[in-house]
């Protein structure tokens, strides 16, 4: 018992020292901050003299609020990514959780527990598949909606799709970037 305690204390001390390890020495380059996700419709107006970017009052208000919030706190993923200590602690506890789950699994021989474990594993698999689907953009990617933009512009029709409103440093003009994929026609390659 005493040896186990000493060994456990030594391992915990070793793991605690890992808190001071900073693996990400290189500072990441500043990237544009995504403030808001909204919708965008592109259409033509043969009578107009100037291009117009029309924003509804509601969207503008949301944009202002998002801007104000962005000054106060970072997004969840950014918080996690920029806190190596907390990530290490989370990883450590996840390691302990899986380890003790394994011990529990080995200890339990009862049929009821096996069913419970099977149920937990099933739920974990379902969540895992769900996560993969979400992370993998199981839905159609955003650029699909913009594929018919050139033809729609020629025909004078509207095209709608999602748009991420970003804020970048500097004083450049507003820029509207449409995701277009080159369609490889037969004989072009």
């Amino acid at each position: 018992m005493k040896r186990t305690l000493i060994a456990t204390a030594a391992i915990l001390a070793l793991l605690a020292s890992a808190l001071y390890a900073f693996g990400d020495i290189a500072r990441p380059k500043p990237t544009p901050k995504s403030l808001l996700y909204s919708g965008l419709t592109i259409t033509t107006d043969p009578k107009a003299y100037e291009a117009r970017l029309v924003i509804s009052e509601s969207t503008l208000k949301n944009l202002q609020e998002a801007g104000a919030r962005n000054g106060g706190g970072a997004a969840l993923t950014q918080q996690i990514m920029h806190s190596s200590n907390r990530t290490i602690m989370a990883g450590l506890f996840m390691f302990l959780a899986i380890s003790f789950a394994g011990i529990w699994f080995a200890r339990s021989n009862q049929r009821r527990n096996t069913k419970a474990i099977a149920a937990v594993l099933l739920v974990a698999v379902i969540f895992g598949i769900g996560t993969i689907m979400v992370r993998a953009n199981a839905g159609p990617p955003g650029y699909i909606r913009w594929q018919n933009l050139p033809q729609a512009l020629k025909d004078g029709k509207e095209t709608s799709g999602g748009v991420s409103i970003e804020v970048v440093p500097g004083d450049d003009n507003m820029k509207l970037i449409i995701p277009m994929r080159k369609s490889s026609k037969p004989g072009e390659e």
């Binding site: 907390r86 990530t87 506890f93 302990l96």
Partner: protein
């Protein structure tokens, strides 16, 4: 030899107490459903206003009823459960002290705001370990129960907590009101098992109702939190942590759950006779035992009533400040629910 832990654990083991309720099962179910629907409606309609009124009226009394209920569940002699209660009371005291001291140290500039998430994460971790320890100790008292599974679950919760301490704390804010429903379930199981099926059927409506509320309120415009009080209420419900979620939906959901919480402690449990005659200390084992402390318990309950009146006075004088102080100190009653709920499992 009778197990010491089963002696004087409260009134629910006494057969004659089973017929004490003031209403029938059907009337009880109708009242639960009606109160739940009414709570959902008013919480969705006027979330900020209802939040203010609800906390003003019920925050103090529900704590008093809860304290009285816990006193009824406290055995006159700890016996084999001495270690369990020692760990429970030490944890409640130390964790509450630490929780109250966190903002105090912050405002005293002992640490910067950048370390706030780490402090919260540490506190949450200690709380999870404390509850896990109590679960394991309780498991040792029950034969044929292997509660070792609590360790991997606790470590997994700690892992989630360190990924996002603020969201974990927000989870506690939303889960805590539901614990009252668990208390009611355990109480009915012991005292009125014939009501349990009706109650659980009513309970099954809750996820549906919550889903309906979330669906209806998810597209509502954010609440106007242009003054300090409204801002605090929206922050408490998680508006800053979940900026893409409608603050109307968050506050309404939180107020709805709080209304259920207060309803269980102030109305449902007394209605089925769980708290006994509130003016009498005879139903409290620690007071009624031959070597008990009836005067001390009586004085404690009277001081509690004075505390409720003081809280009402504080809300009337400075609602915002009193609300902040209340929700900080009220962590004690959140923690106290854990050991007493475990004693009922």
């Amino acid at each position: 030899m009778e197990r010491v832990e089963n002696i004087s654990v409260g009134g629910w083991c006494v057969p004659e107490k089973r017929g004490r309720s003031l209403v029938s099962a059907k009337a009880f179910a109708v009242m639960i459903v009606a109160a739940t629907l009414f709570s959902a409606a008013v919480a969705s309609w006027l979330p900020l206003q209802i939040s203010i009124v609800t906390v003003f009226l019920f925050a103090g009394p529900h704590n008093w009823f809860e304290a009285r209920y816990f006193l009824m569940r406290l055995p006159a002699r700890f016996g084999r459960s001495r270690n369990f209660f020692m760990v429970a009371f030490a944890g409640i005291g130390l964790l509450t002290l630490a929780y109250v001291s966190l903002p105090a140290l912050y405002y005293a500039n002992v640490w910067s705001g950048a370390n706030w998430p780490n402090a919260i994460a540490t506190w949450n971790t200690l709380m999870v370990f404390w509850i896990s320890g109590l679960v394991l100790m309780r498991g040792q008292q029950k034969a044929n129960h292997d509660w070792f599974w609590v360790l991997p679950v606790a470590f997994a919760l700690c892992s989630l907590n360190w990924l996002s301490p603020e969201l974990f704390s927000l989870g506690i804010v939303y889960v805590h009101p539901l614990v009252a429903l668990w208390f009611l379930d355990r109480h009915l199981r012991r005292t009125k098992p014939e009501w349990l099926r009706t109650y659980r059927r009513c309970l099954m409506c809750l996820p549906l109702l919550l889903g309906l509320m979330l669906w209806q309120l998810s597209r509502t415009t954010p609440l106007v939190d242009d003054n300090g009080l409204f801002w605090r209420i929206t922050q408490h419900a998680g508006a800053e942590l979940l900026p893409r979620v409608s603050s109307h939906m968050l506050v309404s959901t939180h107020v709805f759950l709080e209304l259920l919480h207060y309803g269980v402690w102030i109305f449902a449990l007394p209605l089925i006779g769980a708290t006994g005659a509130i003016w009498s200390v005879k139903s409290i084992p620690v007071a009624n035992h031959s070597r008990g402390f009836p005067k001390l318990i009586g004085a404690f309950l009277i001081c509690g009533l004075l505390g409720v009146a003081l809280l009402w006075f504080g809300f009337s004088a400075n609602y915002t400040l009193t609300r902040d102080i209340y929700f900080t100190i009220a962590m004690a009653h959140v923690l106290a629910e854990a050991p007493f709920l475990l004693r009922m499992i």
